[in-house]
Point group: C3
């Protein structure tokens, strides 16, 4: 029997939403499920153009705190940074896919940094195929 699957569209580039997407993805992997993350639009832009931690802080100091304070609180609460969560995701065997159409609109080339993180480029057909075989489907 095939393993159960979680399939998530990651359209948002917000720090807290990327965090939740990766936490749910890694939690699924840890419980023996397979996971596909479809990065598109803002999520894809964040992934390929600026890196997860290097982006502007608009969403990072999302609690009205400064960057320093957030980082300190995250360290004290032993919260893993996004880069680390992404690394764990890859090591646990998760699949990352990039949607081709938004790449064309946004001018993201396949040679952009972080392209080595991406397992495959796909259109909606491969998403539907994954999603209909999934126990958990989310749009974040």
């Amino acid at each position: 029997m095939d393993a159960e699957r979680t399939t998530i569209v990651v359209q948002s580039g917000d720090y807290d939403k990327l965090y939740s997407a990766l936490i749910i993805a890694n939690g699924s992997l840890a419980m023996g499920m397979e996971v596909s993350l479809y990065f598109t639009f803002w999520g894809l832009q964040r992934l390929t153009q600026r890196g997860l931690e290097r982006g502007p802080l608009s969403k990072m100091h999302f609690f009205g705190l400064g960057k320093w304070m957030v980082k300190r609180r995250m360290a004290r609460a032993k919260v893993a940074p996004l880069e680390r969560l992404l690394q764990d995701f890859k090591e646990l065997g998760g699949r990352m896919l990039a949607c081709e159409m938004p790449m064309a609109i946004m001018g993201i080339a396949k040679a952009d940094p972080c392209q080595d993180l991406i397992d495959d480029y796909g259109a909606v057909g491969s998403y539907i195929k994954d999603a209909r075989q999934s126990t958990v489907t989310l749009f974040i």
Copy 2:
């Protein structure tokens, strides 16, 4: 046996989110699934009051580009505009539903433009009925 189903709540009026909702919806239809889109709040407002393309550009030039540039890139990348995706959705047999409660709050009458696109008006009961029979459920 019934066909598999995709059920999506379209609450956002953001250009890129409407785009993803319609791409997933049309992809599902193309693969033989049935699809119900429940328009509510901002998605419903966008649909009924301003039209999909005529709205303000706040979210349309979402990549820091001007409207002209976005339109040119979309044409070059052969990206279908929202109006066309919506037309395809209807022709492929997708169902569009409008949620009644937000209409009352927002003052949207059933005689508003685009009402001919809407197959039915519904409350949460019909959504739950569709969603529990669906393979893919998303909130966008």
Copy 3:
């Protein structure tokens, strides 16, 4: 046989999104399903720190109307306020969970007001367990 289940992550603190989450949750309960709501980040902040109705109006007058107008329209359309929807949710037997990690980052203590609404504190493991047994999974 177990009852069918709806599991929703409530990450947003936007008035209209909390409204939709609770409407879908209560509709599921009314149709005999079990429901788990996982409050995290902004949804959790709204729940624990300011109360559902007392928050700033940025999202409450979301139709360009003033607070007074919105309240009048909601009353006229017989729309239940969020506090009432939440009360119904609890009375119908819904479960509310708070995610521990964001609480640590945001400095929300377990003694904050509204903690009596929360049935349990959990991490991603309990979410995945609920979600994989659910007919409907949403991220709002």
